[in-house]
């Protein structure tokens, strides 16, 4: 007889859920009704929030973890995985979210950071975490802290994909560079980008991040989603892009299809038709530095 001990919360199990979300779209929702729309459109998971990033941006002030009631109602409404956001460094919000039974925690720069120096020790949780990153060093720091999934930060709530593109190209470019470094240059490279040395060695030999890497922050159209997929990400987060558009139902469906058929311009053309207006966008240069969410996190 094989041993029948069930080991929960292992690295394989944490990383494993993200593997299952690949090629899929994770949508921000604020109500059970929106969660149903997302599920019906084919979302592979939802992010339960009190407000989407565009509204957080507009409201200003301190943005915190959502009210547990909102999260629980969304968990009851759908059978797909439900994620929720905790503030950077706020390990008690994370403990609360874990106790609610959410499937993934996003330690997110969209909320106001609770700690200006340290992130959560994500290894100490059974629930897996996803974290944002703008470059390879940041991604590897988060992974070393226990993040089982990475996403670009982009610039949330803008409907402007340019920052997500920049972050994805940055990570991919740095991976390619590291692969070409001789061994004696690795330590300095690790120092320069603030990455754990062992993880950087792993990147050099495998040529990819050790966890799933999604795109997030500013994706508003099916073409945006396909662009990020062609740049090499594993799947898509859409925040404000769906429920801030004129016709969320059709747009949600179209973005799901675009993420699967990202390499097929004919299909992309077909599904991009008659979607109604996308969310209003924001030019990044008009955002004052203090309001740039991507600069949060260390």
């Amino acid at each position: 007889m094989a041993e029948t001990v069930a080991e929960k919360g292992t690295w394989t199990v944490k990383k494993g859920l993200a593997e299952m979300l690949k090629g899929g779209v994770i949508m921000d929702v604020t109500t059970p009704e929106q969660a149903k729309i997302a599920e019906d459109a084919g979302a592979c998971a939802v992010m339960a929030l009190e407000r989407v990033p565009a509204d957080i941006r507009a409201a200003g002030g301190v943005a915190r973890m959502a009210d547990p009631t909102i999260i629980m109602r969304i968990m009851d409404a759908v059978t797909i995985p439900v994620m929720a956001k905790a503030r950077i460094g706020h390990f008690v919000e994370a403990q609360i979210l874990e106790s609610l039974g959410v499937d993934y925690i996003d330690e997110s720069e969209v909320l106001t950071p609770a700690d200006d120096q340290y992130h959560i020790d994500k290894h100490s949780f059974k629930v897996p975490f996803v974290c944002g990153a703008r470059n390879l060093g940041e991604a590897l720091r988060r992974i070393a802290e226990g993040a089982a999934m990475i996403r670009t930060k982009g610039e949330p709530g803008t409907g402007n994909v340019v920052e997500a593109v920049r972050h994805m190209r940055m990570v991919m470019g740095e991976i390619r560079r590291v692969q070409n470094l001789p061994k004696e240059e690795m330590m300095s490279a690790a120092k320069n980008i603030g990455a754990p040395y062992e993880l950087l060695l792993e990147i050099a030999s495998n040529g990819k991040l050790p966890v799933v890497n999604f795109a997030a922050g500013g994706i508003a159209t099916p073409a945006d989603a396909a662009l990020m997929m062609q740049l090499g990400c594993d799947g898509i987060f859409v925040g404000s892009g769906i429920f801030k558009s004129k016709d969320p139902r059709s747009r949600a469906k179209a973005i799901v299809v675009a993420t699967t058929h990202f390499n097929d311009p004919k299909i992309l053309a077909e599904i991009s038709r008659d979607l109604g207006e996308a969310m209003p966008g924001i030019e990044i240069a008009t955002i004052v530095p203090e309001q740039r969410m991507q600069d949060r996190g260390w």
Binding site: M1, A2, E3, T4, V5, A6, E7, K8, G9, T10, T12, V13, G16, L17, E19, M20, L21, K22, G23, G24, E39, D40, A41, G42, A43, C44, A45, T79, I80, P81, E98, G101, V102, D103, Y104, K126, V127, P128, K253, V256, V257, T259, T260, H261, D264
Partner: protein, 192 residues
């Protein structure tokens, strides 16, 4: 032998990687035209609701069912198991409905209850199989001609019926080739 891997969403690349190690050719299947010439099909782990919407949206459901009825072997893991089942508890989700199994989705609980464990799968030999269960389903009931291949805590988690093979866990998340070899040698090669 050419094995198609349904690539609408989920861990399709991992399946391709293991099949490749087993020495068979693979092809990602997203459209009807990509089913042409495929000898067998793998349906990977992922989100079954997402897969089912995309199967419907691109009219893939019927061609796969037709090919299966003409004898195409199919191996489904986790979401793939759900897609093959004739009946899903508490759900109106559309499936391929090819296997006489009655399935409960997310039956082991949410992600915090996801686990890995050593399983006895006698058809794979004496060595225990490291099985990874992610928000996994299990099989509640099977008809007489379904072979139960493994149980976990008394629940049916691996089964076959003629040319169909299903696992509630994720062989694609391990480096153990035995499950894929079993599908290729004992199921696919016997049927094509």
């Amino acid at each position: 032998m050419l094995i198609g891997v349904l690539a609408l969403q989920g861990a399709f690349r991992e399946h391709q990687y293991l099949l490749d190690k087993c020495g068979v050719s693979t092809r990602q299947v997203r459209k009807t035209s990509e089913l042409e010439g495929v000898d067998a099909l793998v349906i990977p782990g992922g989100e079954s609701t997402t897969m089912s919407k995309l199967l419907n949206g691109f009219n893939l459901m019927k061609p796969i069912i037709d090919l299966a009825n003409q004898g195409m072997p199919i191996f489904g893991t986790c979401a793939g198991l759900i897609m093959l089942a004739k009946h899903i508890r508490n759900s109106e989700q559309e499936t391929l409905a090819l296997m006489d199994i009655d399935v409960e989705r997310n039956a082991f609980g949410r992600q915090v209850d996801s686990f890995e464990t050593n399983l006895d799968i006698p058809v794979l030999g004496a060595e225990p199989y490291r099985a990874v269960f992610i928000r996994a389903p299990y099989i509640i009931e099977v008809s007489e001609d379904v072979n139960v291949l493994a149980r976990c805590a008394d629940k049916i988690v691996c089964a076959s019926q003629d040319r169909f093979l299903v696992a509630a866990f994720h062989p694609e998340l391990t480096n153990d080739l035995r499950m894929h070899r079993y599908f290729i040698e004992n199921i696919a090669k016997q049927k094509i």
